[in-house]
Amino acid sequence: MSGMSNARNVALVAALAALVILPFWMPGIYYINVASQVLFYAIFALGLNLLVGYGGLVSLGHAGLFGITAYATAYLLSMGTGHTAAILGGLVISLGATAIFAALALRATGIGFIMITLALGQIIWGLAYRWISITGGDNGINVKARPAPFGFDLGAPNEFYYTTLIIFLIALVAVTIFVRSPFGAALKGTRDQPRRMNALGYHVWAIRFWACMLSGLLTAIAGVLFVYYTQFISPQTTSLTSSAEVLLMVIAGGPATLLGPIVGAALVVIVKNVVSGYIERWNFLLGAIFVAIVILMPEGLVPGTVRLWRHGWRAFRRRRSITLAGNAERKS
């Protein structure tokens, strides 16, 4: 096992190094922008995974929370507010919305939670689409410029990438600490044995509520990065398709793992960018991937590959020990 975790550490350090020097080996600005997208969607997926993977609470309305932050930030900016105030305003409004969202959705678990979050997500989509005086309807809201804190101009692709990378690494470390903390263990407990946790004196509802809030915070941070990245927000961002895309990132990569959602985000963003370059049938492909993953590799790609790898490694070792034993026998 120690050999396994050593290999894992080496791989992680190599991946980190590759990310840090990415603008130097990527062939063009387009790819650096795609890398930025992967990173902020990875933050989004890490946030959703806290609920889906560790909490057992599947939200189909997370694109709504993502969109609320983006709309709030864009709206404040269009009112002439400064960047700092707009970002903070977006985060605060989003956390308020998350609290309402959680209070309503946590009246149920399982299918009920899925249904309520789906309905709440649709409300936000409906408001974004119809409340034209605030959201501009289908025309959306444009964001004129990215901020330039301390003369560090985020308008340039490299600077934006590094900012996203730093925020992503902070988010990853925070999620890692959270998941390994007593609170993370309690959350997993409420997922597996809610009644036993209750009997042990844990406040199951409160644990789930704060998990929702943390998930909402990560979602909101991703939302701010998104709106500055695209410099545009429209109802499409809050739609069920968008919620499903981020859920696919979590499910495809592997729920309840730290790396799964990141791999999933990379996979979905890259496939989406590549596919949209060739054919229009992204939604069909998205649906087909969902069906295929659930039927063929329900534990997700990362744990699935690890399983296959370990399986293969064990089979190899067994075969080798059998041949060695056979040789020893023949010698004697």
Binding site: V58, L60, L104, R107, A108, G110, I111, G112, I114, M115, I116, L118, A119, L120, Q122, I123, W125, G126, L127, Y129, R130, W131, I132, S133, S239, L240, T241, A244, L247, I251, R281, N283, F284, L286, G287, A288, I289, F290, V291, I293, V294, I295, P298
Partner: protein
């Protein structure tokens, strides 16, 4: 006065249509515990299939009712295939069922866009239902009255089917205790396929019945699915009466909301759902807690 009357008639008619849609959803969700997110897609497919049969497939044009029957049968068959080939492999796993049906709904939406294009397709009102019926000072469109009548007939029929027939008793037994039902010789897996096909067929039928007022267009699925959800959450799962009352309530809120507060129509629509969730989480007539 006329304004309010027209709005009321529209609300009741839309409620009838919602009942046809949500009864199938409630049946599948309430009995089999499957959150079928393809339900809006089945509605849309019903509308598109019906429209195609009326416009003519292979040189044969059908009238509205034949097209409706054929489209309903086709959607029911599709539902049976989905249950047999995919959902059967995932018993009791709500997350997997959600993901598979969500994936299928994306595939269906893209399929419709590919086959029928992005422009809405109008469905002609059947000629027998074109006129108006006068009642005192007011005139009601026959088509809307027919939808209400059909919804009532279906409500009574479904209630009889589930509560009064042998098949209904077998379905209820298969849901409450599948193992025991198998022991006494009920083929539970086939019953589940029947229930799913029935629910899907109802959605498809609602799709073509709604055709003359809604028409078939891309995004119809995403417009209808949340409405079915709201009806079921409002009325309570697994209750036909709940679906019926919920549909009428949502029909009223939807039409009045659209007319009076167009900007906040969606918000107004989901508000009662939120209130019900806060004060009565199992829904108005629900038996189980969601």
């Amino acid at each position: 006065m006329t304004f309010w009357l027209i709005l009321t008639v529209n609300s009741v008619a839309f409620g009838g249509l919602l009942f046809l849609l949500s009864a199938g959803f409630s049946l599948i969700f309430g009995l089999m515990r499957i959150p079928n997110l393809t339900h809006g897609s089945l509605f849309m497919l019903g509308a598109y299939f019906g429209a195609s049969f009326m416009l003519g497939v292979g040189g044969v044009q059908l009238n509205f009712w034949l097209a409706a029957i054929l489209a309903t049968a086709l959607v029911a068959l599709l539902g049976a295939l989905i249950e047999r080939l995919l959902l059967r492999r995932l018993p009791g796993d709500a997350l997997a069922q959600v993901l598979v049906t969500l994936g299928l709904s994306f595939m269906a939406a893209d399929f419709c866009l590919m086959v029928w294009g992005g422009d809405p397709i109008n469905i002609e009102t059947p000629s027998a239902l074109v006129g108006f019926t006068r009642m005192g000072p007011a005139a009601f469109p026959n088509y809307k009255l027919a939808i209400v009548a059909i919804a009532v007939v279906f409500a009574v029929g479904l209630w009889m089917l589930l509560d009064k027939t042998r098949l209904g008793a077998m379905i209820r037994a298969g849901v409450d205790d599948p193992d025991m039902a198998r022991v006494v010789g009920i083929r539970v897996s086939r019953l589940f396929t029947i229930v799913f096909a029935l629910g899907a067929g109802l959605a498809g039928f609602a799709g073509i019945m709604g055709g003359p007022s809604l028409s078939a267009y891309p995004g119809l699925d995403q417009d209808m699915l949340p409405l079915a959800l709201v009806v079921v959450i409002l009325g309570g799962t697994g209750s036909l009466l709940g679906s019926f009352v919920g549909s009428i309530i949502v029909g009223f809120i939807y039409n009045f909301g659209q007319a009076l507060l167009p900007e906040l129509a969606y918000f107004v629509l989901f508000l009662p759902m939120l209130l019900v969730l806060i004060f009565r989480p199992q829904g108005l007539f629900g038996r189980h807690i969601l």
